[in-house]
């Protein structure tokens, strides 16, 4: 079952690479210079032994992880608090709805100006961007708590804190996890974008800047390839974690075995 799915996914990717290869080699005009997928994959393989690239990848992924963790640390408690106190949420909601759609990449120049420490600036923009999906999903999760379960606990004499810990939090957790998974992708976008705009001493974005200035489109694409692959792996890992932890949630909501 899963084996067949993986096979189909690999076949899809291989097909795309093959079509790209053929298009670039035979259809595209010779006067347009673009590295073929085989060239990109070859360079991407070489990058795995390029210490400069690996250092950069390490820096980018550290920022990614740090930003995501801090965002979770801020957004989840905030979401739970707002979810538990509806009047406060109603007061803050318009502000949230205003700030949420602002493209996070647009705040990078502002962050550069305000935060003189390069690493801190990069992590900060990641935190900012990741907060929204986690916060909003946590809020939804808090709204979605079964009122009967809460009432039952209350009628057995449990206090508000016990209701929160025993009913609301477990019930909201799968929503939080979804928010984190969405945020993980956004964090990667911001981690690389911040490097592309602000530069730095090391990073995938910094590597792409260097490759671009040196007219090495193949290296630019190879570095981008690894950024994309990391995104895929992170998503798969988080998805697997969700499946394992919240098996009951999918049964309850009747979600498709996808």
């Amino acid at each position: 079952m899963t084996g067949a799915r993986v096979l189909r996914g690999v076949a899809g990717a291989a097909g795309l690479v093959a079509v790209g290869e053929l298009l670039i080699r035979f259809v595209m005009s010779d006067d347009v210079i673009f590295p073929a997928p085989s060239t990109i994959l070859y360079e991407a393989a070489l990058l795995l032994v390029d210490t400069e690239f690996l250092t950069g990848l390490g820096t980018t992924l550290t920022n990614w992880a740090l930003g995501l963790l801090i965002a979770i640390g801020i957004a989840v408690p905030l979401g739970v608090l707002l979810g538990a106190l509806p009047p406060v949420e109603r007061a803050i909601r318009p502000v949230l709805e205003f700030m949420r759609p602002i493209p996070s990449v647009a705040i990078i120049p502002l962050a550069i100006l305000l935060i003189p420490v390069d690493g801190l600036m990069k992590v900060s923009v990641i935190v900012y961007a990741c907060m929204w999906p986690i916060l909003i999903n946590t809020l939804y999760g808090m709204h979605d708590v079964d009122p009967q379960a809460k009432e039952s606990l209350r009628s057995f004499g449990f206090g508000p804190l016990a209701v929160l810990v025993r009913v609301s939090l477990p019930s909201a957790a799968p929503f939080v996890a979804t928010g984190v998974r969405i945020a993980a992708g956004i964090a990667l976008i911001l981690a690389v974008s911040a490097e592309l705009i602000a530069g730095g001493t090391a990073g995938v974005g910094v590597f792409v800047l260097q490759a671009g200035s040196g007219n090495r489109m193949d290296l630019m694409m190879a570095a981008t390839f690894w950024a994309g692959m990391f995104g895929v792996f992170a998503n798969l890992a988080l998805l697997a974690g969700e499946r394992r932890l919240f098996h009951w949630h999918r049964m309850r909501t009747g979600a498709q075995q996808s």
Binding site: S29, D31, V32, I33, F34, P109, I112, L113, L114, I115, P116, V117, D118, M121, L196, I197, A198, G199, G200, T201, V206, L209, Q210, A211, G212, S213, G214, N215, R216, M217, L219, M220
Partner: protein, 329 residues
């Protein structure tokens, strides 16, 4: 352990410096936290674009010229001089590469920056207007009503193009500009996104050899002959607070500039250490000129041209933006 080691090194450095130069330097001996030679700051972050313009700082790093001054330089890759300006202002960078057009325009708008050392100067065929091989455009005059790709609007590229348009009897109102990053310019022109493009190395060489592009005009001729291109800049406040660090930086960069101006091999050796330009490409691209000293005379030409082409509203006396290099020694 390391702080102790550093202190010993510092003391040693100060002693050597005093012995060698015989300077009285009352403040350099009193402050224990000051670095060798009494530097106000011994580690500085320098913003550099991974292009041949930045070579002086990397040669100075590779050959230990900064170390000799007691200075540790951490190079930071930046996307461009304009993008690095907020980082310079916030203090994230101590020094940054800046093209003179950006720098002088920013200065005229009230940004308190100082130019402290030369980085590069235009040389023949280092900044060309290029056209695809089948282009019907044969002369600059043919550019009338055409689209010219530049990497950035209102900057050195557009200014250089406009000086050539003037010779052909055109102005910028006769053409359209399109912003295209250098790495994409070759394909953009081939696909007809623009009719001509203002390019730098290594893109001139690569579009010539790989895509058969033709040179329409060398924009480093006429008014822009030997045109100063880029230099190292700091904020006015930084220069005031760190005069000795600044002098040390200037001395080391001047040494590196001297090396690269006398021996092309220095450039070929340094490029692969900080750019993705490999040694083979480095040996065939047209090199910039690397004057060793930033002089008001030459820089004034840039300011005057900016005024003539209305990039700035009022004249700038460039003496007010240059921090002259310390006497050699």
């Amino acid at each position: 352990m390391t702080p102790k080691l550093r202190r010993t090194a510092v003391a040693l450095g100060v002693a050597v410096a005093l012995a060698v130069t015989g300077c009285s330097g009352s403040d350099s001996t009193t402050s224990a936290s000051a670095g060798a030679n009494g530097l106000e700051k011994t580690t500085i972050k320098v913003g550099a674009i991974p292009i041949p313009d930045s070579v002086s700082v990397y040669i100075a790093i590779n050959k230990g010229y900064f170390k000799q001054e007691g200075l540790t330089v951490e190079p930071v890759v930046i996307q461009g001089g304009a993008a690095a300006m907020p980082q310079l202002m916030s203090g994230a960078l101590d020094v940054t590469l800046q093209n003179y057009v950006s720098g002088l325009v920013a200065f005229s708008k009230g940004q308190k920056i100082k130019l402290v050392a030369e980085a590069s100067q235009g040389a023949p065929n280092t900044f060309n207007i290029m056209v695809p091989k089948d282009s019907p455009i044969k002369t600059v005059a043919d550019l009338k009503n055409k689209t010219v790709a530049v990497n950035t609007f209102n900057n050195i590229g557009t200014l250089a193009v406009e000086t050539q348009l003037k010779v052909a009897g055109l102005t910028k109102d006769d053409i359209k500009y399109k912003e295209v990053p250098f790495p994409e310019m070759g394909n953009a022109l081939t696909n007809g996104v623009a009719d001509a493009g203002w390019m730098v190395e290594p893109f001139i060489t690569s579009t010539q050899t790989n895509q058969g592009f033709r040179k329409l005009a060398d924009t480093m001729t006429g008014q822009t002959e030997n045109f100063p291109i880029s230099g190292w800049s700091v904020t006015e406040e930084w220069a005031k607070k760190h005069p000795k660090t600044l002098a040390a930086f200037q001395r080391a960069v001047a040494k590196a500039l001297k090396d690269v101006s006398t021996d092309r091999k220095e450039l070929e050796k340094a490029l692969p250490t900080y750019t993705k330009i490999d040694a083979k490409t480095a040996s065939v691209i047209t090199p910039l000129t690397y004057p060793t000293e930033l002089t008001a005379n030459r820089l004034q030409k840039v300011a005057d041209l900016l005024l003539e082409y209305k990039y700035i509203a009022s004249a700038i006396d460039v003496k007010s933006i240059i921090v002259p290099a310390p006497p050699a020694g």
